[in-house]
Subunit: 361 residues, 2 copies
DNA sequence: GAAAATTGTGCAAACGATTGCCCGGATGCA
DNA sequence: TGCATCCGGGCAATCGTTTGCACAATTTTC
């Protein structure tokens, strides 16, 4: 009773309060509460202190701890735009993964704007984040290396070319291979592709994979039936589909570097009275929310968004805690999910597609 | 040169470093750097100190500041699920709004699980958040009040019944009125509704609005053509649409309490060979990303997600800083965006819909 | 021209936790 | 019994800021 009344006014109990209650020094309490150091104390004392701490609802003051240890248990997460449907599942994974380790994320969106990115990175430094998870990096970005000097970094989903960072990636190559093999197995031979921005590793790697596997499967077009998107969005998907159509060269399927491009492409096809999948099959990449609800429901490569986030979180925590650890590189498997936007090539269809697409010229 | 060499090793410059360089006491530097207190110092000294601080790239140590001031400049954001497409735009608004004021958000998803919510709220307390933005509250939730005692709170999008909290809401009533008036103007008279969970203010308010305006517009059905969803998702939308169909009662339009329910409903209609909008018009609520890309593109009520986040951020910052402020309540205007899922009732259609829906029995 | 009021700055004590160092007592070994 | 060795735990410094108070130097007041 008496002891309880002496608890410091206003706020939560502190080490000092518990020390007073148990009748030991605060340093002893501190040690008792830390698994690492409690071994050096008398077991029954430790027990007693722990119970007192629990009973009083003691929670260490994060600011005090951070000040002393120079670790904030905070990770900065930098993404292009949290409102882009591709990212929330990753963020969710990151948050859950960090929470397991008693870290938290602070996330910010760059809008792909280098200037904003710089401000964000500086702000995160200033905030004292222990590590960074980058989801929006370009393949080459000199600034990032400077701005992150001295802080553990991992990228998710995307990577930089000469990477001093850890990475968590999807199996882009495997995904494209699956999509391509699927189309080939359906009888398609003239397969176009809408490639993503080559400044992103995703865009670059998927395009490279397309070329490689098209070659291997013997369906490579020469010159290539490729349009390059300048961004991963629906508008660019439309534009690229138009670009492919106006060449007048026939094709019966399009492999798109991601779902949003695919959605745009299908819309463009429709404007040209080409139906998907009857006239042209289309595949996406990512399996983002809602693409199963489109009509046609999109055939796409399912990636493990959530798991990627989890992995990234685990890795960054590892890097932060066991400090001099070398970069780790994780590749997550993907799977093809076949829905309505791809269909077996019927005999007449090839012909029809040719006519239609040449009509556009 | 000499002075610079004395900068404390290892890390960023501190007040002490600047004090030494300028030749004053750290408290003077501290005051010079704070607009509030710098007025009490000699202007030219202030100028000198500020320049020195800038030159050395001084950034206040957030942990030290938090420890002393008991303010972390951190806001907790609690949502049902960040991967639900309705929320990211709000989060984005919150983050931008907080960043303007030099605060950051730490966000966590409850999955609608009260137990998880409790853990999250406790963790946020422990982390020392200055305020809380709640996006997932139930209308009645005793626990929340207990767990947030002593911390400024605002809710976004949803509200509690007896709210001691500030709120930022969409004009639910206005939105439903617009949707209903739109359908009526298209000739619809038998209008069903798929209501959201009544435990959420959104579900409750939209349903109440539906009843009220149906009455006012003279299109109220008796008994009501209403199905209650148990969650705001596509599966429940499907289930509810089925539920409406099996009543055998005719209707030509459905107002859904949100977009995801609408998407589910349209899918269910399609399974019963009812086309949207030819046979049945459907409206959603929220205008979440991608619903303009569905076919049919969804007619829905556009709400200001982003702005809601901004407002919530501004409000919570206000509450945190000017402390004894009473709850503020903001209502954001909405607009109807008419797309493809609603259509004028043609003369024959009423009949047809009747036949089809009664066929289901 | 002395007392009083007003500057402008320094001093030092916090905030709450961590951690190197030290010391008293118990134990080990001879 | 004597001396070295542990073991358990206290002491105090420290992390970087903020802020009430003290105090010297100036300015104002009568």
């Amino acid at each position: 009773m008496k002891a309880r009344a002496r608890k410091s006014r206003g706020g939560r109990p502190t080490l000092k309060d518990i020390a007073r209650k148990v009748g030991v020094h605060v340093s002893t309490v501190s040690r008792a509460l830390d698994v690492q150091t409690s071994a050096r104390l008398a077991p029954k004392l430790v027990e007693k202190i722990r119970r007192a701490a629990l009973r009083s609802g003691y929670k260490p003051n994060p600011a005090a701890r951070a000040l002393k240890t120079r670790k904030s248990r905070t990770i900065g997460v930098v993404i292009p735009d949290i409102a882009d449907p591709a990212f929330p599942p990753i963020i969710r994974g990151i948050e859950d993964g960090l929470a397991r380790n008693d870290y938290v994320a602070i996330v910010a969106s760059t809008d792909g704007n280098p200037w904003r990115q710089q401000r964000i990175l500086e702000a995160m430094r200033a905030r004292g984040v222990d590590g960074l998870i980058l989801a929006g990096v370009l393949r080459t970005d000199a600034m990032v290396s400077k701005l992150t000097a001295g802080i553990p970094v991992t990228t998710v989903i995307r990577q930089t070319d000469a990477s001093p960072f850890s990475t968590v990636l999807h199996d882009e190559d495997g995904g494209i291979r699956l999509a391509l093999a699927h189309l080939v197995s359906l009888g398609h031979r003239s397969i176009a592709t809408i490639a993503g921005p080559q400044s992103f590793s995703t865009g670059y790697n998927r395009h490279a994979a397309f070329n490689r596997h098209a070659e291997l499967l013997g369906v490579r077009s020469d010159p290539p039936l490729t349009a390059f998107a300048r961004a991963f969005n629906e508008a660019e998907g439309e534009r690229c589909a138009e670009e492919l159509l106006v060449t007048g060269r026939p094709f019966t399927a399009i492999i798109c570097a991601n779902d949003r491009l695919a959605i745009g492409a299908i819309a463009a096809l429709r404007r040209h009275s080409l139906r998907c999948p009857e006239d042209i099959s289309v595949t996406g990449f990512n399996d983002m929310p809602l693409v199963d609800r489109l009509s046609p429901a999109l055939t796409t490569v399912r990636v493990q968004h959530f798991q990627a986030g989890i992995e990234a979180a685990e890795i960054i925590v590892d890097m932060v805690e066991k400090n001099p650890v070398e970069p780790r590189h994780t590749i997550l498997p993907v799977e093809l999910v076949v829905r309505e936007s791809t269909r077996r090539l019927s005999h007449g269809r090839m012909q029809r597609a040719e006519n239609l697409s040449s009509r556009v010229e």
